[in-house]
Symmetry: C2
Subunit: 383 residues, 2 copies
């Protein structure tokens, strides 16, 4: 069944981790229940439960990180990194990936039914933090019988979760891989997310977030938000080599307002295909949680936290990433190193911008592989 | 009446340059008439008509480049550059600025009435080129009794018009100032404009471009388009120093989807105030004319043109401009220099990104002033 170097056929399972009577208590104090979490696992948990790796997904990811659901489907979004013999090697690691709280791919989020009303939460869903995302991941691990992690791995918003996790629970993660992430969005980063949210919330079919009850969807706004965000995921250089100024399906321009340049056709496709798999309210919540993320904001509180961190970090950036450019990663590295947290840093050359973390870039995969090998061998040496 | 170093009180006049019987013939072959052009002039035309300077405006500019309409109003958009004793010195120059064809500030555009239908043109307005914009400018100059220009000056889309003008009419302009312009949009440039147009055209009140007849306006889409474009006019660095991560009107975040960060408040204001002065269809036409602009596309045709150019160029870029970064200006300079067209190039350091061309940046204004002085003195020497 399974293709070579694939974890093969997998399925997404769901666990009810919190109930109405035993709710999730968010950092804000809000209580949320029930909370169901969609997750997948790859590989086998060792008898000593010491080989677990958690994969934290980015803004629009889901629990399906590796393998395939059926023969016709596309593999998981990080299938090139996770599998037997791959950098995150499932022949010896037990890998867990879960859809984020607030998401729309099986985990409770604003499109879930609020038991108090019988309707979708919409904007009545409580605002949450990256720390809350981590709490839900930890509850899932307890459900799976895992107490600590050999490693946590994530890119972009995924890397932000890994960083927060290591800060909040310094003894729980041996090693952390933080790829093209940030400890603090810049005003330009916030600006792009703010305009994406405006596109959604100004769509007349947004209906104050209650579009599901009305049987409509703010598809126009969500597609525009995705198209704009997608520009920030690619590099100028990558767009030049991929599209140039080539015309779509023609030799000469048509001169009009329909799609004419290939880059327009590509963005249209990105916008439209996104509608099939994503919920507008989830987009609002998961971008807003990033805006407010600022774990290094309070130096005094941070110092105590960082001094306790025992996690071994690998921080990776890509030279053409302008969504979270290398200076974001350097800020993380500088702060960790200042508190003697072990940290390796690599800026990888890639023409593909922020999206590089999802692609096979040999230097990147080799770096993750070598780091994960060291982590695994260090664990073997101590057990 | 006039403030120091201001051209003082001015008014926008309108000239009918083409009629239904004597229409403007566009490069596409389409015919358009009547064509009215809104324009302003500053300073006096010399007896020998040799001191005329044309100001070409950018995407969202208008004819009101300098002075003020009444005491309560804001000065013209380039008032810091144009006036007595300013870099474009109206004490000795005759300066003309006109709203672009396809615009919405007095010149015929898609919101004008189509005499064939009695309704606004909407998307029935013909698509035009930068060369067509130049044709209309030239018709205005003939109307004013001006046959040739001492200089043409423009930033961004304005600079693109100046470049096209010098290429198409090599004997007509003594000197050209081309600021933060481009000879060819990159795919990323096109992508941002394409998504802005999507935001407008997907607004349900766009009505296929016939919103005026329906008594509505695609304000939601136009505001989103403007907000997104505005991000590309500022630099990351400029946003950091201006807004940082500061919260609007509060000490601590409110945690929600309303405006919270100052940068969000700023963009909202930019989006909303734009609605008062701009038409959505004009935004479509004037961004699309930029996408298709590519005067260097045909090297053989270009060589003949460039060899004939007698214009003396000053090309200026700004180091933090990422809308049209310095490489765009360098491409123009390289092409001109390869054909022995006299060209000076300066990259100016400024934290303000693309918007720098509208601001008082001493090195920038000094450079324009010195160039314009040389141009004026060279003219004196030959007359």
């Amino acid at each position: 069944m399974s293709a070579p170097a694939s974890v093969g056929r997998v399925e997404t399972r769901t666990a009810r981790l919190f109930t109405r009577d035993a709710p999730l208590v968010l950092e804000s104090g809000a209580r949320l229940g029930p909370v169901d979490v969609a997750y997948e696992t790859y590989g086998e948990l060792d008898a000593d439960r010491g080989n677990a790796v958690f994969i934290c997904h980015a803004l629009t990811g889901d629990a399906h990180a590796a393998g395939f659901h059926d023969e016709a489907s596309r593999p998981g979004w990080w299938d090139n990194l996770i599998g037997p013999g791959k950098p995150v090697d499932t022949s010896r690691l037990y890998v867990v990936c879960a859809n984020l709280l607030g998401g729309c791919r099986g985990t409770t989020g604003p499109s879930s039914t609020d038991p108090a009303t019988g309707e979708a939460y919409g904007l009545r869903f409580p605002l949450f933090t990256v720390g809350d995302l981590v709490q839900v991941h930890r509850a899932l691990l307890r459900h799976l019988g895992v107490e600590r992690l050999l490693a946590a791995v994530g890119g972009s918003l995924g890397g932000m979760q890994v960083l927060q996790w290591a800060l909040d629970h310094p003894d729980e993660i041996d090693a952390a891989v933080v790829v093209c992430a940030t400890a603090r969005l810049s005003p330009q980063n916030i600006a792009f997310s703010a305009v994406a949210r405006e596109a959604i919330m100004r769509d007349p079919e947004f209906r104050g977030g209650d579009y599901l009850a009305a049987g409509v969807r703010p598809d126009r706004g969500l597609a525009v938000a995705r198209m704009m965000a997608h520009i920030t995921y690619l590099s100028e250089e990558g767009m030049r080599s991929r599209f140039g100024r080539r015309i779509q399906d023609a030799e000469t321009p048509r001169f009009g307002f329909d799609v004419d340049f290939q880059v327009e056709s590509y963005l249209q496709h990105q916008g439209e295909s996104f509608l099939r798999r994503f919920d507008a309210n989830s987009y609002l919540y998961l971008t807003r949680v990033m805006d407010y993320f600022d774990p290094f904001a309070d130096p005094a509180a941070l110092a105590a936290k960082l001094d306790a961190v025992r996690t071994n970090f690998l921080v990776i950036s890509f030279d053409t990433d302008w969504r979270f450019d290398t200076s974001h990663s350097r800020d993380i590295v500088r702060m960790l190193a200042a508190h003697r947290t072990p940290v390796s840093f690599r800026e990888i050359s890639s023409p593909h911008g922020h999206d590089s973390f999802l692609l096979v870039i040999p230097e990147y995969h080799d770096t993750v592989r070598a780091f994960m090998d060291r982590v695994y061998r260090a664990r073997e040496a101590t057990t």
